[in-house]
């Protein structure tokens, strides 16, 4: 089966500094993928390549098995399919108020005003920020701005949503609410994060960026001490605890519930 979206043997970077080297990531439809890696490892670069914003110096981005060409028409079509939300909401928000900002994408899709309105309402509703609709963007808190930025992408109804550190800077309950929202969305999601515990509990698949390459696999991959060490991550507590107690690693205990039931049966 060809992936919905894929980076194949991608090499990319800035000036002389190569960040990714022969990196491959395949994103199957409907999956939730957590992208992990150290600061500066190339997570953002990979997301930018996948979104079409950055052109790799070698390798290719594939959409449904076909290579993405970087001409204007292809990129436009690509942006209907794939939306990237940047880490800093201020890089994305520019309009005077929330409704205007969220409507920017839908109107650019060529929707008429009433269809665009419907999209805006839908997106605000999905992100549980209907109450912010008429608020000026510049008076919102950080957490609120993050949600508005995501709403702006969601309103374009992409098939793949790429999120760069959407949970960074949110309080624990805010993180929980955001993950609930992402579950409600009916899209494929790639989420870059530093939070290994969250990745283990939330993702269907993980992809670890390390040394310019990507290692993709089951979330249990985060129990690979060698990979984790090289990638400047740490092992999720769930996996570390199970390993330290000398319990069998498989099936991986991914949530608190898993750990509790695993320990319960052992005693």
């Amino acid at each position: 089966m060809s992936a919905l979206l894929a980076a194949v043997d991608l090499t990319a970077g800035f000036h002389d500094h190569v960040v990714l080297r022969d990196a491959t990531l395949r994103i199957a439809a409907g999956r939730r993928i957590a992208l992990l890696g150290a600061n500066g490892s190339g997570k953002t670069t990979l997301l930018r390549c996948l979104s079409g914003a950055l052109r790799p110096s070698a390798g290719r981005v594939e959409v449904g098995g076909r290579p993405l060409s970087h001409d204007r028409a292809s990129l436009r079509a690509h942006r209907r399919l794939v939306q990237l939300v940047l880490q800093d909401p201020d890089a994305q928000l520019f309009s005077a108020d929330v409704t205007q900002d969220v409507s920017f994408g839908p109107l650019n899709l060529g929707l008429d005003d009433s269809a665009a309105w419907a999209r805006v309402e839908e997106a605000l509703d999905l992100l549980s920020i209907t109450h912010l609709a008429e608020r000026p963007t510049h008076h919102l808190s950080y957490g609120e701005r993050k949600r508005v930025a995501i709403a702006g992408a969601v309103a374009m109804r992409p098939e793949v949503l790429l999120l760069d550190e959407p949970t960074a800077g949110l309080d624990p309950m805010g993180v929980g609410e955001l993950l609930d929202t992402l579950r409600r969305l009916d899209t494929t999601v790639v989420l870059a994060t530093h939070d290994v515990d969250l990745a283990l509990a939330w993702a269907d698949e993980v992809a670890v960026v390390c040394g310019g390459a990507v290692t993709q696999g089951d979330p249990a991959l985060l129990g690979d001490a060698d990979l984790i060490g090289r990638a400047r991550l740490r092992m999720p507590w769930q996996l570390e605890l199970v390993a330290r107690l000398g319990l069998p690693a498989a099936p991986a205990a991914r949530t608190m519930d898993d750990v509790v039931s695993r320990l319960g049966t052992q005693r």
Binding site: H15, A53, R76, R79, L86, A91, N108, H138, G152
Partner: protein, 253 residues
């Protein structure tokens, strides 16, 4: 940051001449600039251009490709600005309307381009090897009042912060198909972007003010800057090159 706005600055920070005294580089660069201005196109400007390129891509190890990119903007102006000089009213020969290309006009125009290219290259000797902020710091020794230099060096820091925001916002708009918008909506997007950046610039300036107050900022913005050794070899080399150009002009004319 990937932007042509920072090409020269990036090169300057990486240049092996970064650690030279600013005064020495200014001496070399400015005397070459003045030589380009004061000597005839041949041989003065040609020699100044050659000497400048030699220093830039030679000892200062700037990529020739980078120098070429940098020269596009001034060349555009030089070509456009020279056209009205090349074409003159009246006379015979090829032309548009009442304007005709004359050999005299063409000569003057080419001379202007030569002066422009040589002068700009000479200026690039200091620009591609010295971060702007070093120049500002060096101006303290010229007795420029401190508040003015504080404003200029803060500008330097803030412009990179703003530039990265501006580029990020533009890219994010393109990601949401901003380039496919109608002309009217694109104009509005540009205005909204500028407005947002102004608001954020203000917020940033206020935040920075508070951050600096916490570190004891009251009036002066004093910081340490490394002492650079005077290099007499470099000074002599600079003087010799410029003198060489003048001597060649005197001999050849």
């Amino acid at each position: 940051m990937t932007s042509h706005q920072t090409t020269i600055d990036d090169a300057a920070w990486a240049s092996p001449w970064r650690r030279r005294r600013v005064g020495e580089k200014v001496l070399l660069s400015v005397s070459l600039v003045l030589t380009a201005l004061l000597t005839p196109a041949w041989p003065g400007c040609v020699l100044v251009a050659a000497v400048s390129v030699f220093f830039i891509v030679g000892p200062a190890r700037i990529r020739p490709g980078l120098l070429l990119t940098v020269m596009i903007a001034p060349l555009t102006f030089l070509v456009m600005g020279s056209l009205p000089v090349a074409f003159q009213f009246g006379g015979t020969g090829w032309g548009i309307g009442g304007l005709r290309i004359s050999p005299d006009g063409l000569g003057t125009a080419l001379g202007l381009v030569a002066h422009g290219v040589a002068g700009t290259l000479a200026l690039m000797v200091v620009a591609t090897t010295t971060p702007m902020v070093d120049v500002v710091t060096w101006m303290r020794s010229l007795r420029v009042p401190d508040p003015l230099l504080d404003v200029a060096s803060l500008m330097y820091r803030l412009l990179f912060v703003l530039l990265s925001t501006a580029l990020a916002v533009r890219q994010a708009q393109v990601a949401r198909l901003g380039d496919a918008a109608s002309w009217r909506r694109r104009w509005r997007a540009v205005a909204d972007t500028l407005g947002s950046i102004i608001l954020r610039t203000w917020a940033r300036a206020t935040a920075l003010q508070r951050g600096l107050e916490g570190r004891g900022y009251e009036e002066a913005m004093r910081t340490l800057s490394p002492r650079r050794q005077r290099n007499w070899g470099f000074v002599c080399g600079a003087v010799a090159s410029v003198a060489g150009v003048w001597a060649a002009c005197w001999v050849l004319s």
